[in-house]
C-alpha cells in the first residue's frame, strides 16, 4: 500500500483510533461515493467509526 494511503484512516492500521461525534446528519463519508453523485444508499462508512458517516437516513 502507498505511503499516503496509510495515512487515510480507512486504509491504515489505526482504523478505530478516532471516536465519533456524530451530529444528526453528517457530511458525506470520505469513501465510496463518486464526485458527481450522491452517496451510495447504504451508509457503510469506509472510515470505520472514525469519520462519523453512520447517518441512518442516508440513501
Amino acid at each position: 500500500m502507498s505511503e499516503m494511503l496509510n495515512r487515510v484512516a480507512a486504509f491504515g492500521a489505526d482504523n478505530g483510533a478516532c471516536g465519533t461525534a456524530d451530529p444528526a446528519e453528517t457530511p458525506a463519508s470520505a469513501c465510496g461515493s463518486a464526485c458527481g453523485a450522491t452517496d451510495p444508499e447504504t451508509p457503510a462508512s469506509a472510515c470505520g467509526s472514525a469519520c462519523g458517516a453512520a447517518d441512518p437516513d442516508k440513501k
Binding site: M1, S2, E3, M4, L5, R7, V8, A9, A10, F11, G12, D14, A17, C18, G19, T20, A21, P23, A24, E25, T26, P27, A28, S29, A30, C31, G32, S33, A34, C35, G36, A37, T38, D39, P40, E41, T42, A44, S45, A46, C47, A50, C51, G52, A53, D57, K58, K59
Partner: protein
Amino acid sequence: MKPYFAFQWHITDTCDQRCKHCYIFAEDNCKALTEMSFDKMEKVLESCEDMCDKLGRTPYFYITGGDPILHKDFWKLAEKLKDNTIRWAILGNPFHLNDEICQKLYDYGCVKYQLSLDGMEQIHDSFRKSGSFKTTIEKIACIKNAGMFCAIMATVSSANISDFPELIDLCAEKEVDVFAFGRYCPTSGQKSEEYHIEPEEYHNFLDMCYHKFQEHKKNDCKTTFQYKDHLWTLYLYEHGLFTIPENHDPDLIYDGCHCAIGHMTILPTGDVYACRRMESKIGNVFEKSMYDLFVGADLEEYRQFDKFEKCGKCELRGYCRGCPAVTYGYTGNMYAADPQCWKEV
C-alpha cells in the same frame, strides 16, 4: 459488509443534451463521441472487481455517460452487473425513461437513478434544453414507482444560486429520496469569473440551505438532504454540529474529498481519472489494471495531503479539504486554497 469503493463509469459520450456546464463537452473537449464495446466493458468490470477484492472493498458502480441508456449494449451490461450481484446506480437523463424502462432497470438491480436539476424551469432549461425541467419533474415519480431511489443532484454557481430556496422546496414536495448539490467546476479562466461565488456568499448560501433542510425535516419530509460539498463540514463545525473527536490523529485523513481514496472514474476510452471534474488522467484500464492504477505513482499525486496550502494550516484538514476540483478549475492547482472557503487560517 465491506465498505464501498465507487466507480463513476462513463460508458458512452452519446447524449441528446449539450449542457452549458457539462465537463464532457466543455471547451470542445469531446469532438468525437466514443462508446466502450461490450467486450471491453467486461474487462473493466473484471479489473474493478479484482481491485476491490485486493483492497477489501465492495464495488459500487455509477453508470453514466453521456446518457448510458443510449449505449447499444446497455442492457447487456445491466444483466452482467445483476449476474455479478454488483450494486449500481445511474447518473442519467430523464428523456428515455418510462414505467417499463424504470421497472426493467429495477429488475436488473439498479438501486438509484440520479437526475440533475440546475434551478427552476427557466434557468434549468437555459442550461440544458427546452422541456428538460418538466420532463425531469415528471420522471421522479416514474423512478420511485419502480422501486428505485430517485436522487436529484444540482450544480450551484452564481448563475442559479438564487433559485435554490425554491428548488429545495420543490424536491421536498416531490419527495425525492436524496437531494444534494456540488459547486460548478470552471473549465476556463473566463468561466471561473462568470460563475464565481464569493466565499461569504457561499457561507450564507449554506446557511440558507441548512435552515431549509431543517424546516422540511420538521414537517416529516422524506427527502434526505445530503451534505455533499465538503465545505459543509466547515459550516457544521462552526455551528457546533460537527466536533473533531478528542483522540484524533492530526496526521490522519478521516473524511473530506474522496479523490484517490474512495472513487475513480473510467471514460469510454478506458482512460482512468482520479476525478472527472478536473483534468486528472492517471492511465488507461486496458494498459494497466485498476489495482495497479490505484496504488500507482500517478494516483499518489492526488493524495499529497501535506501539499494543501490553506487546508494544511486548518484543524479540519483531516475532514474537509474543500473541493480540489473546483480549486483546480480556478487555479490549475488542486492544492491551492478553495475559492469558496471562507475560513481565515
